[in-house]
């Protein structure tokens, strides 16, 4: 993979859950939910992993490194996926980038 993660600028992008958006685990369904105004987003396992790493201080790069370690995958590739996922949520105002 030719993408240089360090040079990608993703170290400076720090995603955060805005006020009015909450991630929670629902015991009755045994499932994570991202809740917002009139929105119930049901993340799959990978998406839930990403969302749980968002704390308003970790950068996209740090999140990708973390996940790459966990899934033994290429961090640059993961970073691209994470970024696409977050952009989509940001477009729905469910996350701040």
């Amino acid at each position: 993979m030719s993408v240089d993660l360090a040079a990608s600028g993703l170290a400076s992008i720090v995603p955060a859950l805005p006020r009015g958006v909450r991630l929670r685990f629902d015991e009755s369904r045994q499932q994570w939910f991202l809740l917002g105004p009139e929105r119930v987003f049901e993340p799959d396992d990978t998406a839930a992993e990403i969302l749980r790493l968002i704390d308003g201080t970790r950068s996209v790069e740090a999140i990708a490194q973390d996940l790459a370690g966990k899934f033994e995958a290429d961090p640059a590739e993961i970073a691209a996926d994470v970024m696409a996922f977050l952009r989509d949520l940001a477009g729905q105002r469910m996350i701040d980038l």
């Binding site: 805005p18 006020r19 009015g20 958006v21 909450r22 929670r24 629902d26 009755s28 369904r29 939910f33 809740l35 917002g36 105004p37 009139e38 119930v40 940001a90 477009g91 729905q92 105002r93």
Partner: protein, 393 residues
């Protein structure tokens, strides 16, 4: 099967549905405004019938345990309840996502600070029109427009997540684009462009509110244009006016499928107009738990699934998409709650409904019958529809 048997058949004929997603907590029917399209019933619950704080807290506990994710504090005007901040805090404590649907009128600014401090997640502020004159006349309250602008500033100061609720009808449909701009100016992340739904007070005032087809088409085009312009900044959700639509909306996401509505006096309803359907037996939260009502209540089971349907719904490919439309609208317009919603173009009554809408839209009436505890004359127009049942296949 008689009508009553069909409506109240036991839950055992259905597999258990999934848990509900949302609880509509109608804390009070009191409201400073008197909107002529209010979705509340014509006979409003008076203050002395409202559930006390302790019962609402128990309901919030039960809701969370049942798997409900969102609670919507609404009414009437939920901010008129002196215990509103306490209830918001309690809902947060048990893990619920808290929404408040407010008119912005009739309470002190400090009350808003209190609910923000209590952890309110999301507030929806209504606006009746862009201009003060129409806004105050539709809401039936002098000074409402100005007050709403002040509340919007308070919401921004408090950093609360805001949705602007614009209810659309003949008198303000041309302001659709401006409502979107207002939402942006107020710092909202979302706007609801919600065309009036004709139940409750809306059906009483239908001739005064029904837009023309041209107005609706224009308003829809304005929404599309605004969506393109504000993509990524503003979420625009649109509730379509269904008399002119081809297919009806999936009311409440399906009967007894996603939402529970609790009236101020504690009646559990599958939708806010459900009490207009004769023969349905409703449970109260004083007598049964939310879970028991959701899974086993007769009213919640009455129109679950598709077994109750008649033709053309019964053999229609869309029946799992829109569930045959709205049961209350079928009741109001066809005189039969299990009929196809006449808003559907496949309903044998549809042409007459459209003709009625067009005639009413051209009537130029603006003598609103305001919502209030005095009640309203029962709507007359629908009775003309009922004899037409004889023509149905």
């Amino acid at each position: 099967m008689s009508r009553a048997e069909t409506l109240n058949r036991p839950a055992s004929t259905h597999p258990l549905p999934p848990p509900p997603m949302g609880l509509l907590a109608e804390l009070t029917h009191r409201c400073a405004l008197r909107c002529p399209y209010c979705s509340n019933p014509l006979e409003l619950d008076r203050r002395d019938r409202e559930l006390p704080t302790a019962v609402w807290k128990r309901l919030l506990d039960e809701a969370a345990a049942l798997g409900i994710l969102h609670v919507y504090f609404s009414g009437g005007e939920p901010m008129l309840r002196p215990d509103i901040a306490e209830l918001v805090a309690h809902a947060r404590d048990v893990g619920l996502y808290t929404n408040m649907i407010t008119s912005g009128v009739g309470f002190q600014p400090a009350a808003l600070d209190a609910v923000a401090e209590a952890g309110l997640d999301h507030i929806q502020l209504s606006i009746q029109a862009m201009d003060a004159e129409t806004c105050d006349r539709v809401g039936g309250y002098a000074g409402a427009w100005q007050r709403k602008h002040m509340v919007a500033a308070d919401i921004a100061r408090l950093g609360l997540r805001l949705t602007v609720n614009a209810v659309i009808h003949r008198e303000n449909a041309h302001q659709t684009k401006d409502f979107v701009q207002l939402a942006e100016d107020w710092g909202a992340a979302r706007i609801e462009i919600a065309h009036v739904q004709y139940y409750g007070w809306g059906i009483v005032n239908r001739a005064r509110l029904m837009p023309t087809r041209q107005q609706v088409e224009r308003a829809m085009a304005d929404v599309e244009e605004a969506r393109a312009r504000t993509a990524g900044r503003l979420v625009i959700d649109c509730v379509l006016p269904d008399y002119y639509a081809r297919y009806p909306k999936a009311c409440m996401g399906g009967w007894g499928a996603r939402l529970m509505n609790i009236s101020p006096a504690g009646v559990a309803l599958p939708c806010h107009a459900a009490q207009t359907i004769p023969g349905l037996a409703f449970d109260t939260v004083q007598e049964r738990s939310l879970s028991d009502i959701w899974y086993h209540g007769a009213a919640f089971n009455a129109f679950r699934g598709t077994d109750w349907m008649q033709e053309p719904c019964r053999s229609c490919a869309r029946k799992d998409l829109d569930f045959g439309g709205c049961r209350c609208q079928a009741m109001a317009l066809a005189g039969d709650a299990s009929a196809t919603d006449p808003a559907c173009s496949l309903s044998p009554l549809h042409k007459q409904i459209v003709a009625l809408a067009e005639a009413e839209a051209a009537s130029h009436r603006s003598d609103f019958i305001y919502r209030g505890f005095q009640g309203a004359p029962k709507p007359q127009a629908e009775r003309q529809m009922v004899p037409l049942q004889a023509d149905r296949p």
